[in-house]
């Protein structure tokens, strides 16, 4: 495959993930197909932040997981540009071929409580990716862990402590440090700030922005909170029922949403301004949309 210098870091084309589920009850067909992700395509430019928003079951997390190959996609391609300029299709690589690629694509999880092993020290958690990939050990490992902890706003001496000693915001910083230590080019943030209080959320978002500028990171930011996306993402893709219904620059999505579903979704968000009334008639409008 030939690549121009302006090539996207990630090009997702026709991505789909189908699940077969068993039906219950009399008179039903034996199985049914769920199209969790259904022909999804988008590009990620180097250094940009794309928000992937949608409600439960819209397919946003499944899309993210297919890109990370935590799930094997049913179809489509996920073209990823490596730092050396080669392009690989993450959707089709074998497990063995995938391993050297994985350091470049990292993830920050939603729940800072369940995504950190309570029996490992912070130093072991943050250093583990380097150990697994055989990239550092001994004094070098220690030094890199200390440096990355400092970079995310924690103290190097925190590395001997266990996750339970940290607050939700600090734990999320530990999760960010674990992703950052691999010097990835792409970080997938799956609801990375959803579990946090607003003031802590603001601090973590600020940190992610600083790191992006410093390391030229590209973010795929999966979220259900439209307010967070508005402030954090350059472009937004709105998902519903496995498909992207609208993808546009953030300002445009919020100022002039084109798809009726986007309009309904935005109108349902309770504004903290008492003079901007929210829409309580969402159910009726969604029913009308589905009726065509």
């Amino acid at each position: 495959m030939t690549e121009s210098p302006a090539a996207p870091l990630l090009a997702v084309r026709g991505l789909s993930k189908h699940f077969t589920v068993k039906n219950r009850g009399p008179g039903a067909a034996a199985t049914r197909l769920i199209r969790a992700v259904d022909d999804v395509s988008f590009d990620l430019a180097p250094g940009e932040t794309l928000g992937l928003v949608g409600e439960s079951g819209s397919g946003k997390t499944t899309t993210a997981r297919c890109i990370l190959r935590a799930l094997d996609p049913t179809g489509g391609s996920v073209l990823f540009q490596l730092p050396d300029g080669r392009t690989v299709d993450l959707a089709k690589l074998s497990d063995r071929a995938l391993k050297p690629v994985r350091p470049h694509v990292q993830m920050v999880f939603q729940d800072p409580f369940s995504s950190l092993n309570p029996r490992m020290t912070v130093g072991a958690i943050v250093g583990e990716p380097l150990v697994i990939h055989g990239l550092a050990r001994g004094a070098d490992l220690e030094a890199r862990v200390a440096e990355v902890l400092r970079r995310v706003g924690l103290k190097p001496e925190h590395r001997v402590r266990y996750p339970h000693a940290f607050s939700g915001g600090q734990r999320q910083r530990i999760g960010i440090a674990r992703a950052l230590i691999m010097r990835p080019s792409l970080i997938v943030c799956d609801e990375a700030t959803s579990a946090l209080d607003v003031s802590v959320q603001a601090q973590v978002l600020d940190l992610l922005k600083e790191l992006q500028a410093e390391y030229r990171l590209t973010y795929l930011f999966v979220a259900h909170n439209l307010d967070v996306v508005r402030n954090f993402c350059g472009r937004v893709a709105v998902m519903r029922r496995g498909r992207i219904v609208e993808l546009a620059p953030t300002a445009q999505i919020f100022a002039a949403p084109q798809h009726p579903y986007t309009r309904i979704l935005l109108s349902a968000v309770p504004s903290p301004d008492p003079d901007v009334p929210m829409n309580f008639q969402v159910a009726e409008e969604l029913a009308k949309l589905d009726a065509g």
């Binding site: 607003v198 959320q201 009334p277």
Partner: protein, 278 residues
């Protein structure tokens, strides 16, 4: 009504709820005073650990050891049962049982944990009726189906015999609301009622709570961390920080012109505000 209109339904005075731990006494609620008029909605807003949920649980005396109410008054001026100081009631007093689920009821955050997985939803709602009212089982069933229809559950008759796992998250929260309102409480406490829900479902549930409140004429104590929900649903707001109310007033006044530094900091941390500043 036996009480003059100017006296609020609920008056909480200098409430103190502490947790007595081996490492010392933690004053989770540290001298909180507020009141709610009939038919009004007060939002108690704050971050994790601010004491808003402990305040709500204190209203129903649901604080478990090592926590306990160590001071203050919780005056409920019930149209049905007269004036009651909930803080002073004995643990096994009949009045307390009448308060819980009868005069005051509660909607919890997580509908799946608030509902029993092994009883049908209709059974769970009818149980509340049978506990608080003298009715036959057939009448309780009729009232339950009527309430299920009122909270927007289609084919309420068939839903009666379904179990929580057969319902979606939004449907479950509707069932929890039906259960809370079926005994016509004078005060409804809603503890983060929509935090676990998608935004389009949240809009429906908030709309439902507003409509039913107007219809039944009850007051609402809304516990939330979301200023959007406060602005759209509440009449008054009290901002909690470290067990105290730092600012209290009508929603519009507080959100448009916050006086306390903590309120301002919280509002400034909102992504929508930050976007405007940036």
């Amino acid at each position: 009504m036996e009480h003059p209109a100017e006296l609020p339904l609920l008056e909480v005075q200098d409430l103190r709820t502490s947790f007595i731990t081996p490492d010392g006494v933690v004053p989770a609620v540290d001298g909180v005073t507020f009141s709610i008029a009939r038919g009004r909605t007060l939002a108690l807003v704050g971050e994790s650990g601010s004491g808003k949920s402990v305040t709500a649980y204190s209203m129903l005396r649901l604080i478990q050891p090592p926590g306990r109410i160590v001071g203050g008054k919780i005056l409920l001026r019930s149209a049905r049962a007269g004036e009651i100081d909930i803080a002073k009631l004995g643990e096994r007093s009949g009045t307390l049982y009448k308060v819980r689920g009868g005069l005051i009821s509660m909607i919890f955050q997580e509908p799946m944990t608030a509902l029993s997985p092994v009883h049908s939803v209709g059974h769970q709602i009818a149980e509340a009726i049978l506990l608080h009212q003298r009715t036959s089982k057939a009448e309780a069933r009729r009232l339950t189906i009527e309430m299920l229809a009122k909270v927007g559950i289609a084919q309420a008759e068939e839903r009666f015999d379904q179990y929580p796992h057969e319902l979606s998250g939004g449907m479950r929260q509707r069932v929890v609301i039906a259960m809370a309102l079926v005994c016509r409480p004078e005060l409804l406490i809603a503890d983060e009622p929509t935090t676990a829900l998608d935004v389009t479902i949240q809009a429906q549930i908030l709309g439902l709570i507003k409509t039913l409140q107007r219809e039944l004429g009850c007051s609402v104590l809304l516990i939330t961390h979301d200023f959007g929900v406060v602005a759209q649903v509440a009449d008054d707001v009290a901002v909690m920080y470290r067990g105290r109310i730092v600012e209290h007033g009508p929603v519009r006044a507080v959100l448009k012109n916050p006086q306390h530094a903590y309120t301002r900091a919280l509002l400034d941390a909102l992504p929508s505000r930050r976007a405007r500043v940036a």
